[in-house]
Symmetry: C2
Subunit: 429 residues, 2 copies
């Protein structure tokens, strides 16, 4: 199918179960309106024109929202939302020509889902949806690659309706027939009659929201999706991310990513400064700052606000937190001069681990963790170094900590050079 | 004019002034055959087919060379090179259809020259050539944007013939007339009669070679062109590059860029290791390693062998030379423990200056020295740090050296963050 240029978004539902006056598509989830997420993802995928079917009561709100977003959109009014969302689709018939994407305004789709959805044709279905209540969901029965039946409470369904469809205008004929026959027309009725092909998109993120509890759940899911995979060590995966995503969930509507960056930096410097008074408290606070260090990125990605500038500044600040902490720890431990070369090497190593991987990205415009997956398994990443620092300081092994850091980090740089070179030379050969 | 897909290279000259048996286009200049330079640059600019006019005596050599290069090329034989290079062009008439680029096989063109040349039409001329002997050169008189006269010894010429032309097949008519009229036909004769438009390309690198002295001069010029501009500090521009380019000129045909990288690394480590015996000798050798550090890049670029892998490994090795030298200097100076935090900060600063600029490239895929030219004027780059180290060690100010490095480098990182952020935010605004 050709690239999809038009999208119809059904947003006339009344959302009675949600409470409050805001229409569901304009509710914020993890800091962004549901509609903002859908429209900006689709725009990135090449959709050029949007058609929104809305309740006349909400017209001004949707218009204001779209103006702020700066997206070319046509608003179609549905003065009788009680006639069902099949009727809403029917009303959009004049505003569309050629194949179009149809999505529900109260569904939240991951960018990966939409990318795969627009590449296919027909009803986009998911055989194993993970993020919805299957008992409440609209199910689909498939025969010969087409929709044979669709509705709630189907027994042994083949897949579930994702609320996303790639259709051509012939679907409006089925809608018109049904509108002539019935007083209320659900979208499922239209799809059952049109019997479009099914397009299976498994394993991608999508969900819908009906209640305030759904909103909170969706927010948590979006933040979990926002965890940057590459570069995380085992401590991050097992401990830090489990805590940081909860913190991000609490703060996502309250603080900006930049505020989170500076807060984590401040806590890191505070940890460093605590060393003369209590190395133990300092070590624990250092680990806390390591957890908090995940929050800025999670909030930024979950709210679609991530910027390369944020990543750049954050990474330089991280280096300074590590330097400040280890330097303060070494000073307050009163190492003799003879041990200081080890301290210097430990400090340098923690910077050089990052330097060697970042310089790789600068040279090849690629992520070394993607090119050399083995690197993710070798210890020495920041979360692991910080956790090791906390454990060894708590056990009183400060000298051993610096020896271990000096050894692990420079060994890791050497391995990075060797595996990176092998990868690059292998590609060329 | 449409994109040029065909190139005719005149390579039938006898090159008597050169001596030796190798035809001129196959002579190596700065480690690469002249023809290799022209063909690979043109291929990168979209030329798909090459026509080479050669002396039958050299046919096997050219064929072998082209086979090794893996470039689609047709060889046209000129059994009578004494009839002039206008006759060579005439012989190529059957092999060409549509617009084509005509270049001399014994000219060396910079990539920037060829890029601008293929974007125009007619005789490519240079009003102020810097790298040829104007008394020996073919000059051009321009009237109404066309070639009015062309030849050696023109009085007050408007520009000089670069040996490069973007022509259409109508030029073969002029060539055929002249071949019918005369026993010897120079290319200048053909161009004078065809009177094509002139395409002025000033200020780019191109030169020709007639004698062994020309070859040596061209090699020096290519190495001078190969100096990477960005990131060089004032010491590099005034001292290091003047010496390193001479060394590169001597070694370009003898060593690979990788050998130069490891040699500079070895000298750097040797400098570090000398500290316990003679800090003065060590400091001088450190500065020598800084000069040698330019050689690998110069040889790589001059011989068209630069690779991102070389840049990546070299930059990590540079960090380790700096660490080894400063650490060895600090150890052999026997600083008290209280001064070691300053030593650690000086060491870290020299790594972080590079980290912050390289991480910028990783984040934005752009060179911060291009985005923020002011950074090039602020001291603290590697060549400057090393020179400062040498001077202060020679004067006996070792303690002051570490204080200065700790201060300058971290200040530079701060300035980098501030100016880089301002640049990025300014672009977005």
């Amino acid at each position: 199918m050709a690239r999809i240029k038009h999208a119809v978004i059904l947003a006339a539902g009344e959302g009675r179960r949600m409470g409050g006056g805001e229409p569901k598509p304009l509710r914020r989830v993890a800091g962004r309106e549901i509609l903002y997420r859908t429209v900006s993802a689709l725009r990135d995928l090449g959709v050029e024109e949007f058609v929104l079917v809305v309740n006349p009561d909400h017209r001004a709100r949707f218009e204001g929202f779209l103006r702020k977003l700066g997206v070319p959109a046509e608003i179609v009014l549905n003065p009788s939302p009680e006639k069902g969302n099949g009727y809403s689709l029917y009303l959009a018939r004049e505003a569309v020509s050629g194949p179009f994407l149809l999505v529900m305004g109260d569904h939240i789709y991951g960018e990966g889902f939409l990318r795969r959805a627009v590449a296919g044709e027909g009803a986009v279905v998911d055989p194993g949806p993970r993020f919805i209540d299957r008992d409440e969901a609209t199910a689909v029965r498939v025969r010969d690659g087409r929709v044979a039946d669709i509705g709630k409470g189907l027994r042994d369904p083949d897949a579930y309706d994702t609320g996303c469809f790639v259709l051509d205008p012939s679907v409006f004929a089925a809608a018109a027939e049904l509108v002539a026959e019935r007083r209320e027309v659900e979208l499922a009725d239209v799809i059952r009659r049109a019997a479009p092909p099914v397009h299976i998109v498994p394993g991608e993120f999508w969900t819908d929201v009906d209640t305030p509890a759904d909103l909170r759940r969706a927010s948590r899911l979006l933040i979990a999706q926002a965890v940057k995979g590459t570069g995380d060590g085992i401590v991050s995966r097992l401990i830090n991310r489990r805590i940081s995503t909860r913190i991000s969930g609490l703060l996502v509507d309250r603080i900006t990513p930049w505020q989170a960056t500076w807060a984590a930096f401040g806590v890191g410097l505070l940890a460093a400064g605590l060393n003369p008074w209590s190395p133990v408290a300092a070590a624990v606070l250092y680990q806390v700052s390591s957890i908090l260090d995940g929050v800025d990125g999670e909030i930024a990605r979950a709210t679609l606000r991530q910027t390369p500038l944020g990543g750049w500044v954050d990474s330089v600040l991280d280096r300074y937190v590590d330097i400040a902490y280890l330097l303060a720890l070494a000073v307050s431990t009163r190492f003799p001069a003879g041990f200081w070369p080890v301290v210097a090497l430990a400090l340098l190593g923690s910077v050089l681990v990052s330097y060697s991987t970042e310089r790789y990205r600068g040279a090849f415009a690629r992520d070394i963790y993607r090119d050399v997956p083995a690197l993710a398994l070798i210890p020495g990443k920041r979360d692991e170094r910080i956790f090791l620092s906390m454990v060894l300081v708590l056990l009183g092994y400060v000298r051993e900590l610096f020896l271990a850091l000096a050894l692990i980090t420079h060994l890791r740089v050497l391995i990075t050079l060797l595996l990176g070179s092998r990868e690059i030379l292998g590609k060329r050969g």
